[in-house]
């Protein structure tokens, strides 16, 4: 059978962010960062606090407006005036450090809100889709609970289901486990692992180095708004080229 020649196949990259710059007032937080992600890849974004990881992730779906650079998802120019960014955003899921579930809605309400309002799905269909995705993260039994009744790990899994339900092409995760009690971290990492195994493309800013070693296809080390080094997990963790990278990895290991 002939494979349809999708832009992904022809260009190789699902997300292509080139020379991304971001300035807040006087300070340049991103100084020309390249981030290229292939379909199905899990890219880990590491770097010291304040290096610009969150800002870079937010630039990728224009929650922060990049002040320079080019940004493409599956060949579509995300910075073009003619691009409907709301339309594109639902193809880029986002998961947050502090979960950011809507406290006034139940778990299923959290997952269905965008299905109903953005995708204009009828309630029954949205509910079915939500349950299906809550099952994937092991949270279907809690569909009628409110976020405040859940543990952090459970909330984060609902957060993942919320973006998953929109059928995104990829998911950005900003320190998905760093607000969690240690004993709850694994439940979330397992979900991320299962997404990876199902071929979901993900960019994750995280300090979970052991997980990165096992699961990441590529690791990008960011410092002071610049990519210092990027390579396979193997390369970065055992054979980093830059002293600065090795130093950072030594620090986070304890």
């Amino acid at each position: 059978m002939l494979m349809s020649s999708s832009p992904v196949a022809s260009q190789g990259f699902l997300l292509e962010a080139l020379q991304i710059r971001k300035t807040f007032g006087q300070t340049e937080v991103l100084k020309g960062v390249d981030l290229q992600v292939k379909a199905g890849e899990l890219v880990f974004l590491i770097g010291p606090s304040g290096s610009g990881k969150s800002t870079l992730l937010r630039c990728c779906n224009r929650l922060e407006e990049p002040t320079g650079g080019t940004l493409k998802l599956n060949g579509t120019d995300l910075l073009a005036r003619s691009t409907d960014i709301n339309e594109m955003r639902r193809k880029i899921g986002m998961v947050f450090q502090s979960f950011n579930l809507y406290p006034h809605l139940t778990v299923i309400g959290n997952v269905t809100l965008a299905l109903r309002k953005v995708m204009k799905m009828p309630k029954a269909e949205a509910d079915a889709r939500a349950i299906e995705n809550l099952k994937l993260v092991g949270m279907a039994e809690k569909a009628l609970s409110y976020p405040s009744q859940l543990s952090g790990g459970q909330q984060q899994r609902v957060g993942i289901a919320r973006s998953l339900a929109l059928n995104p092409m990829m998911i950005l995760m900003d320190e998905p486990t760093s607000a969690l009690d240690p004993e709850l971290v694994d439940s979330v990492l397992e979900v991320i692992k299962s997404l990876r195994d199902r071929g979901m493309t993900m960019v994750i800013a995280s300090h979970e180095m052991n997980f990165a070693r096992n699961a990441a296809d590529r690791v990008v080390f960011l410092e002071n708004g610049l990519v210092v080094e990027s390579g396979t997990a193997e390369q970065i963790f055992t054979n980093a080229q830059h002293e600065r990278t090795r130093q950072f990895l030594r620090q986070v290991r304890h």
């Binding site: 950011n100 579930l101 406290p103």
Partner: protein, 227 residues
Amino acid sequence: METWNRFVFTFFNADIAWRYWPTIVEGLWVTIAAGLLVVVTGVTCGMLLASLRTLGIRALNIPIILFVDIFRALPPLAIILVIFFGLPNVGIVLPSLVVLWTSLGAVLAAFSEEVFWAGITSVPPGQWMASRSTGMTFGQTLFHVILPQAVKLAIPPLTNRTISITKNLALGSAIGVNEILGQANSALSMSSNATPLTMGAFLYVLVFAPLILASRMLERRYQWGGH
């Protein structure tokens, strides 16, 4: 005993009460109608202004903030008198009930804008981000994510404000609105007895007690997930 009888005769005179209750009940309906008008328009306008303010457009925010600050600073009676006695000079004559309604409505709009705005700004920015990241528009996010949370925070201060501002309906008696106090006052001068005022006071309690109860219920209803 003598003083006690005089006290009862002055404030709780059954004959007087019997004679004047129809007039005072008429005032009750006027108070309720005017109160509903003030609350509905005031709170709606307040929420609308607070929502407009989230757009962050300077040309819009400056007049909103000016309006809010002025109407919070002015004594309601001053506003009522200025509109009632001032506007006719430029050819606009409004019925006294309309003057009462717009004056207090504007005051309530100003205070509730402030309360809603405080509610909106105390919703964590992560809520905006989460919603926008799923493709929800600014308006959808405001309406479905931010306002429900802001309203919850706003309800206790808002009900207090609403009650204290609607009490100013009694000021309507100064411009001839036939609300409870106005009616009780004319009954007082006709009968030379304070019983109509007692009845008026009783009716005010009757009107405002349900409001206070309703606010309690609303507060409870909005405590989702028990925190």
